[in-house]
Symmetry: C2
Subunit: 341 residues, 2 copies
């Protein structure tokens, strides 16, 4: 009653434990009649397969670890959903941990997952993580892993991310083509490499046209909308508003828009606004938000694929992939026009 094992099932159906084991895993080596009989017995006794015990024997757990800063930003949520979907499709259960952008927490989660013997881990590093702890804890052999989104220059692993620099250059081109000259950048967490890449691209793109980036504000990532709004307050307090504000993420951009409106500045008409990610809200919001789609679903899917490949071929050459992003032009830039100043 209490705890039914394959031994109980074997005894009750008059076969050996090996036979039951094969039935559980749906082997074709067992006759349909026997299979049927064993199945019925399992039902009757209320047998539940103990994967833990199987794991110990097979040295695989059919689990994957996912560590990321959090899921409060819709982009992370979409990414997470995609990864879970793919993991499930591959027959794996997902262990999830949130670093909250704290490297020590990240290391702790990593260590626990390795102890739990996950088959592999997908890691979106904390913004200040430099992959040091990582290398020690996740010795190549101990846990296959792939890093996503935030590039870790000193860490040897597969990587999948977005071509942020090119995307930001495109944003700059678009803004300049509208006649925009003064561009401000409202960033995410100070140490975040994605923030830096997008700023870099913007700077490069503007330079190409003989322009400078106007100002860069930092924003606490945990309160993205509130952060965008705070940064905008600072920006407007400095006198003459810029022609355009580029936010490092749509969630931040929405905060920017709200604050502009609150101060009587019309987003789009008076100040152009651009975000990154193309979260759902970007196309629903009024005005609709010009943004760079970064396709978290694709990223998640590819991350799981890469991880599974790494698990089956631990020695294969490492691969770094960056996907192209795609600018969606909407009202927050198309409504803009040069003011007679």
């Amino acid at each position: 009653m209490e705890r039914v094992t394959i031994s109980d099932v074997a005894d009750a159906s008059g076969v050996s434990r090996a036979t039951v084991s094969l039935v559980v895993r749906g082997s074709s080596k067992i006759s349909p009649q026997t299979t049927e009989r064993v199945r019925a017995t399992m039902m009757r006794l209320g047998y539940v397969y103990n994967r833990q015990a199987a794991n110990l024997r097979t040295q695989r757990t059919m689990t994957m670890g996912l560590i990321l800063p959090g899921v409060r930003d819709p982009w992370f949520a979409d990414l997470t959903m995609a990864i879970e979907e793919q993991a499930e499709a591959a027959g794996c259960t997902l262990l999830t941990g949130y670093s909250r952008d704290q490297p020590e927490r990240e290391n702790r989660l990593l260590a626990t997952m390795v102890e739990q013997r996950v088959d592999g881990v997908v890691l979106l590093p904390a913004s200040q993580s430099r992959g040091r702890g990582l290398a020690e804890i996740v010795g190549g052999r101990t846990a296959p892993h792939v890093v996503i989104d935030r590039w870790l220059p000193y860490h040897r692993s597969d990587f999948i991310g977005v071509d942020n620099v090119s995307a930001a250059v495109e944003v700059a081109d678009h803004l300049v083509s509208l006649g925009v000259r003064r561009v401000a950048y409202v960033g995410g967490p100070p140490d975040c490499v994605v923030r830096a890449e997008r700023e870099e691209g913007l700077r490069l793109g503007l330079e190409e046209h003989g322009l400078d980036l106007d100002a860069a504000s930092y924003v606490d990532v945990d309160l993205e909308q509130a952060g965008g709004s705070q940064a905008t307050r600072n920006l407007l307090a400095g006198g003459q508003p810029p022609d355009a504000i580029v936010a490092y993420a749509d969630s931040v951009a929405l905060g920017v828009i709200a604050e502009l409106q609150r101060q009587g500045v019309r987003p789009g008409q008076d100040v152009a606004v651009v975000g990154f990610d193309d979260i759902d809200a970007a196309s629903v919001h009024h005005p609709t938000l010009t943004t760079v789609a970064t396709f978290p679903g694709r990223l998640g899917e590819q991350a799981v694929k890469a991880l599974l490949a790494r698990i089956s071929h631990p020695q294969a050459a490492l691969v770094k992939t960056r996907f192209e992003a795609r600018l969606h032009i909407r009202e927050t830039t198309t409504l803009w026009s040069r003011k007679a100043a």
Copy 2:
């Protein structure tokens, strides 16, 4: 090199396996000197504790399952973060699965987690789930669990949720006190009990003042903002707009607001809008959104507490808890005033 076990560590440091086992778990039965020596050996050999093996012996896995429809709504994201935090504090790793509001998927996830021998599971049921599969798969003894947010009338388990009915009554009172007479309700997924509870409360509250609920629209939960916006289009196409629109969630309310603005109707001034949840965006948005705070963080925290209690006392009496919500009055209702019609 390849796979270091406690036997290797025991041999290399000249003690027995039992001693190593005790050192690993930080037992005080072992002398500091021995502990130190064994620790050093573990370091040197690159030993990694195999929790799987320990699990098999101890019959606990130090893992918890979390199954919920998804994390795309910020409310679910906050809930998830809180649960992960508490689980980690209790020394547990979280296995996460998303049902995508599909009962079959939910059952599959549940079955996998039981096989993985999670110590317990927190379940936020799919909107159409009635807990049937649940009762079969998660036999009380097999996996302790607690249901959150969405009440399952026919399922025996602990439950933790929000007092939605009372909260919605309070919303009705507030609207009526402003002079609002025609109230429309824009709901979530049709079968969702939370949607129904909030509608019920609203209806009761209005009845109290001799008013009826004007219209109820359903919204696809996967595209919450887009859904709110779609529902609003339908509502406005029907001629005379209502005095107020109550949305079943803030995410939906933001879509409502966007669509009102798009059609030249001023949210707040022309049509009052109320949401539920008090997500971050509610207080940042322009205009700020009147909403009922439902405290997902507290819910998550209590859910883990309840689950841990259930794990240690499987036979204790079941408990159903509903927390009070809290109305935050903001611009989308305070700006409203009766039109001379």
